[in-house]
Amino acid sequence: MEKKGIIQAQDLCKRFGEVQAVDHLSFSVGEGEIFGFLGPNGAGKTTTIRVLVGLLKPDFGSALVNGYDVLKEPVKAKESVGVVPESSNLYGELSAIENLIYMAQLYDVPKKDWEARGEDLLREFNLFDRRNGKFQGFSRGMKRRLTIAAALVHRPRILFLDEPTTGLDVMSARGLRGVVKNLKKKGVTIFLTTHLIQEAEDLCDRVAIIVKGKIRVIDTPEALKESVKETEVLEVRPKPISQALAGKMEALPGVDKAILVEDKLRLFGKSLHGSVLQILNQLRTEGADILSIQTLTPTLEDAFVKLTGVDAEVMRVDKPIKMGGPG
């Protein structure tokens, strides 16, 4: 899928105090690709975007965006980039068309094109009827759509989308995913972050799974699923349950990974069926009663869990979002 590195990151590091937000990240995004950064909140996804768009200087490493070094030529790099931040942060006091015209002014779009481009985008994003409505009076979905439209007014080659559907209802989120797919058809390269596994699977040509600032794996969603195809998943509900118990299960032959999911223990392994008796015996030895036991079919979520050890429930928690205009 990767054709040519229109975004290239090499060994990027960024630390805030004691927290290593981004830890030696290296990746390349091909032109026209939808590349997803998938990880839980606090994994370093937004920090990576902020480094790539020139908002933060990395402590170490380098990044090229559209061929320009974001440290040495930040203004040149930004010219070809549109950014949709996680918060819909347009100006509440301005109308939809005024916001788009202001963006056109900031991105040095020729004056004769300001209004026409703004109106075209409002039509494309089904907001033309509200062209003179103030941004602060828009619904959350409308605000999100206008924020994406604002990032496109200078016709960028690359679009960064930070958690594009966070906080949206199902229909608005579906609509926005359609918008992203249409942009890809127009040749726009898209770098998106998400904590939603299904969203990554639906949209992305390739996915980088990032946890605690480090990339665990980069591959297509299909290949990631394939990686767990041969994996058997066994879910046991022991009582009592503890992290120590999971550790002991993981040490058993045939068990590759054991994680806690609420009050259950989920075990992964290529030939778990041969180890079931051993697992049950070990649980009894540890003094646990077995309340239930079942086998599961592996999903992308399981691939994620197996690769990262992160509880999939953690991924379903939205960050608090900031919306609306100032004041």
């Binding site: 908002l55 203004v75 010219e79």
Partner: protein
């Protein structure tokens, strides 16, 4: 117009359009100077021209720093300032645009105060050109001072409180109500470190044709120096602050 100046102009124009009716701006940037001017006029109508330079200087100080506090802290609060930093614009252009919007607001407020005094109190201008230059430079100096104060805080009330920590002492230390040379030496030293002193001194000479503490063009030169220093310091602080948090 160069690209940078054009972008700074758009930033300033948007700020003026979006924020001029914000309540903190009306209370601190508009109401407070009006109350001061009326209070002094009602107390001593004949003596109003004597303190008119101080009142104009104070009007500019409060209105410009209030506007600067709003254009920075409101936008920081909802991450809208990031939007400017993600655009292909130099950071110094962004800050200059923010300062320009604040300075224009302060300049308009100063003009309103002057017109008010000319028509109601019969004030006249002795040196209109130096008056204009000192008004412009004062507004920029106060605008960049307001930005410097605001870049470190996130909420508008914090910005206003911190601004008052600087503004209110300046009203008493910079010759607004009392001649600076009649203050104790220690306070004079502090007063000479503050831009409002030079603003009021230049305005006094330009409006009343009185002798100043130093020549009015030297006042103007020092104000220009304040503009440069405050701009560069606020730029350095702003750059540092944007790197500190995720």
């Amino acid at each position: 117009m160069g690209k940078g100046l054009r972008q700074a102009y758009y930033i300033a124009r948007k700020d003026l359009k979006a924020y001029y009716l914000k309540p903190p701006l009306i209370s601190w940037g508009l109401m407070l100077p009006i109350v001061f001017i009326l209070a002094f006029y009602l107390r001593n109508p004949q003596g109003i021209s004597e303190i008119s330079p101080g009142l104009v200087g104070m009007t500019m100080l409060f209105s410009t720093t209030s506007m600067a506090a709003i254009v920075i802290s409101f936008e920081k609060r909802i991450d809208a300032l990031d939007r400017l930093l993600m655009a292909p614009i130099q950071i110094r252009t962004v800050l200059f645009g923010k300062g320009l919007g604040a300075a224009v607001f302060g300049f308009v407020m100063a003009l309103i105060a002057l017109v008010f005094m000319v028509f109601l109190f019969g004030l006249s201008f002795s040196h209109p050109f130096s008056l204009l230059v000192s008004l412009i430079l004062s507004c920029f100096a106060f605008g960049f001072l307001g930005i410097l104060i605001s870049v470190g805080v996130k909420e508008i009330f914090e910005a206003m409180t911190l601004s008052n920590f600087f503004r209110l002492p300046m009203v008493f230390l910079c010759g607004v109500f009392y001649p600076i040379l009649s203050m104790p030496l220690v306070l004079q030293v502090v007063g000479f470190c503050l831009p409002l002193t030079y603003s009021v001194d230049a305005l006094r000479q330009s409006l009343l044709s009185e002798g100043g503490v130093i020549h009015r063009w030297l006042d103007i030169l020092i104000l220009a120096g304040f503009c440069l220093v405050l701009f560069e310091v606020s730029l350095a602080v702003f750059r540092k602050r944007t790197q500190e948090s995720n």
